[in-house]
């Protein structure tokens, strides 16, 4: 009797265990909104504006994805996550996708069992100092106290870089950007290191940006991109092709403003992309035919999203640099949509 009871329980357990199911898209549709993990506050990437609205480069990607699924860019619940908890939150199903300045690395791919959907920003690690520290190169930072966020590639690169150059440092670990910034401003650390893009964004939002300097050296490769957990390839495909669609749209000149004027285009790929032709491409991944049309319409193409959040319009003035389309000398290159 004891045995059969346990077996019964195990069977029940087996049923419930299947609930963390593989069909993320169905779960998202049933819920009626996308759960998107973003940073707790990285200017330009994900912040909350004065009216309480989530804005930023990563935020706009999630809005595009939500627009693709629901036709409504506002059908997203943003979940702010610190660097340290983001992967656990994704693995546990607390969020469907992570768009949170996250660097694509080998061990995150394999050991942490995450699927990266591509690169939406080619970044590198930099250092910010106060100008009156009198330092002009990272190589002068021997013995410095350094603010870093825990659970990042930043802390690993930092250890490698200082060792390579025979320098010592004192790490001051912090949980998030706000804490790092506060420590840095209070002078509890000499320099603050993280992705250079985030440093630029943070700097322009300081009270007196001109008193601070982002040092010229970039000590690592930080290809940032959205990611999902292992185990649902279809969901990964959807996320990946929403990102690609934004890149292709820029390449072809499809913008938020002119997207409706492409009906007579002779370019077959445009019709496949926007769902204006005969082929229903998006049916292959269980999405509406015009999903990518809606995604692009939501916040514009990749170039527009960049400009609105990280460029001059966004107030951060980051150059496109390598993040320009390959047609304009950058390395942004999407596989063909066919």
């Amino acid at each position: 009797m004891k045995k059969s009871l346990i077996l019964g329980f195990l069977a029940a357990a087996g049923l419930t265990a299947g609930m963390a199911s593989a069909a993320t898209l169905d779960d998202v549709k049933a819920r009626g909104n996308l759960n998107c993990g973003v940073s707790t506050g990285a200017p330009g990437f994900a912040t909350v504006d004065d009216s309480g609205k989530n804005v930023g480069f990563d935020v706009d990607y999630c809005r595009a994805l939500a627009a693709g699924i629901f036709g409504d860019p506002m059908a997203v619940k943003f979940v702010p996550l610190t660097s340290a908890v983001r992967f656990t939150a994704l693995a546990a199903g607390e969020v469907d996708i992570l768009a949170r300045n996250t660097t694509w690395t080998y061990s995150r791919d394999t050991d942490l069992k995450q699927t990266f959907l591509g690169v939406n920003y080619y970044d590198g690690q930099g250092f910010m100092v106060k100008k009156d520290l009198g330092v002009s190169s990272t190589l002068e930072l021997d013995g410095a106290t350094v603010c870093i966020q825990v659970g990042t590639t930043t802390e690993l690169n930092l250890a490698d870089y200082f060792k390579e150059n025979g320098m010592s440092y004192e790490p001051v670990p912090t949980a998030d950007n706000a804490e790092s910034q506060q420590q840095y401003l209070a002078g509890a650390c000499d320099t603050y290191t993280t992705d250079a893009s985030a440093l630029h964004g943070t700097r322009v939002n300081l009270e007196n940006p001109d008193a601070h300097l982002v040092l010229p050296e970039i000590i690592s490769k930080e290809p940032l991109g959205p990611l999902v957990r292992h185990g649902d390839d279809n969901w990964a495909d959807i996320g990946r092709w929403v990102l690609n669609a934004l890149v292709i749209a820029e390449e072809k000149g499809i913008t938020q403003a002119n997207i409706d004027s492409w009906g007579n285009s002779k370019d077959a790929e445009v019709h496949r992309l926007l769902g204006t032709g005969d082929d229903d491409m998006m049916a292959m991944v269980g999405m509406p035919k015009n999903a990518l049309y809606n995604a692009i319409k939501a916040g514009g193409n990749y170039g527009e999203i960049f400009e609105n959040n990280l460029g001059a319009t966004g107030g951060i003035n980051i150059e496109r640099g390598v993040n320009a389309s390959w047609t304009k000398g950058g390395i942004l290159y999407s596989p063909p949509f066919r």
């Binding site: 004891k2 009871l5 346990i6 329980f9 195990l10 029940a12 357990a13 087996g14 419930t16 265990a17 299947g18 963390a20 593989a22 660097s83 340290a84 908890v85 992967f87 656990t88 693995a91 061990s107 995150r108 050991d111 942490l112 069992k113 520290l133 930072l141 021997d142 013995g143 410095a144 106290t145 825990v150 659970g151 802390e155 690993l156 930092l158 250890a159 490698d160 060792k163 440092y169 004192e170 790490p171 001051v172 670990p173 912090t174 949980a175 804490e179 420590q183 209070a186 002078g187 509890a188 650390c189 000499d190 957990r229 292992h230 185990g231």
Partner: protein, 404 residues
């Protein structure tokens, strides 16, 4: 052989629950089955879900290179050390905070508890404010607040620079208080320092025996020595002589400013200070209440009888009240020490690298081994808690024997 005349009732299954002879056992069996089943269900569910994500359960990550640096290390550690060693560094950091936190909390708590009963109105009120203030505000806020005080209102190392510096060191240039921590002189063991340590231990042992002897004399003859001063001499004089005989083997390394920071000296980071003090003050408020209730539990007659015998108030407290109150005070103290130890896991709020920060923070995040890290952490806190309670229970038993 049975002497009962009752007819033997035939056993029915229903009797398992209705008959008081069986009920206790059957309820226990049922509880046990449910417990085992729920346990298996949890394990099975976890493993299935892990498998679904393509994860397994393995502790191999502990032997791999950690790759990150830790600022406060009590044992040697570099980023080439293993995750296991990083966990150990974290464990020691946790124990440091727990130990000093408990010591300070006890001292402050006992004082505050006694003073709250003071007949001096101002002292009693001040202590009430202290106790209520710390007890009724979440400890996390105290940690962050004390840390902010330390970092925002102390000078940066840079301020000590130049011919006319804005800040200067204290106590003959031996102590520097900065927004990165407090730097103290550190003893440096030279040749022969071990002889000095041996000499010190011997004198402490002799002082100990002297105290025992003087107690005995006092008991037998009623005459006392100035025990305290004599023991101080027994400890100090041989050590001072030895210090010079062995050619001053212990010197002090004084902190000095070099580059961005102070070098040498003992660096007490603000994260350590803030965390320890906040936990200690917070817990001391609870300890004070325990002490107060322990003292109030001793009947007033004891005090009156003691003063009728002519004892002075502080003697009454030390000889009559506290020894009896201890029996009431010690058991609830255990849970205060346990609380302090467990609350130390809030360390990340101020960037203190305790075991939650290393094993349960960076290691967990870098390796993706959530389940394994959490199990290890739980195992650690459980063992420490059990250890603390058994040590205090041991002491408690010795108090109990004293009682009549």
């Amino acid at each position: 052989m049975s002497s009962s005349n009752f007819p033997k009732e035939k056993f029915r299954w229903g009797m398992l629950l209705s008959d008081t002879r069986y009920r206790g056992t059957s309820l226990q069996v049922i509880t046990f089955i449910i417990f085992v089943a729920v346990f298996f269900w949890l394990v099975d569910n976890t493993l299935k879900n892990l498998a679904l994500m393509g994860k397994d359960v393995s502790f191999n990550f502990l032997g791999m290179r950690a790759g990150y640096d830790i600022n406060q290390r009590l044992i040697s550690y570099t980023n080439d050390s293993t995750h296991a060693r990083a966990a150990l560094v974290g464990i020691l950091n946790t124990l440091v905070v727990a130990f000093f936190g408990c010591v300070i909390a006890t001292i402050v708590g006992v004082l505050a508890g006694i003073l709250r009963l003071s007949k001096n109105w101002i002292v009693a009120k001040l202590m009430s404010i202290y106790i209520e203030g710390f007890r009724n505000i979440p400890v996390l806020l105290w940690i962050v607040m004390i840390f902010a005080l330390f970092t925002e209102f102390t000078p940066a190392p840079k301020a000590f620079k130049g011919d006319d510096p804005q800040a200067s060191m204290l106590l003959f240039d031996s102590v520097a208080i900065t927004n990165r921590g407090t730097y103290l002189p550190i003893p440096i063991m030279g040749e022969g320092a071990y002889w000095l340590l041996i000499c010190l231990s011997l004198s402490i042992i002799s002082a100990f025996y002297f105290v025992r002897y003087s107690r005995k004399v006092k008991k037998d003859t009623g005459k006392g020595f100035p025990t305290f001063w004599i023991s101080i001499c027994i400890i100090a004089i041989p050590c001072i002589i030895a210090f010079f005989v062995f050619g001053k083997p212990i010197s002090f390394g004084y902190p000095y400013l070099k580059g961005f920071n102070f070098k040498d000296g003992l660096h007490l980071r603000n994260s350590l200070l803030a965390l320890t003090l906040a936990l200690a003050f917070y817990t001391s408020a609870f300890i004070a209440e325990i002490v107060r209730s322990g003292i109030l539990a001793i009947s007033k007659g004891q005090t009156e009888a003691a003063s009728a015998l002519g004892l002075r108030p502080n003697k009454i407290m030390n000889l009559i009240i506290l020894p009896q109150a201890l029996r009431v005070i010690v058991p609830p103290m255990i849970s205060q020490y346990l609380n302090l130890t467990k609350n130390s896991s809030l360390a990340i709020a101020v960037g203190y690298m305790d075991v939650r920060g290393t094993l349960g923070g960076i290691t967990l995040n870098q390796t993706g081994r959530e389940l394994e890290s959490m199990l290890l952490l739980m195992g650690f806190y459980l063992s420490v808690s059990l250890l603390i309670s058994s040590v205090i229970n041991y002491f408690n038993r010795s108090f109990q024997i004293v009682g009549r």
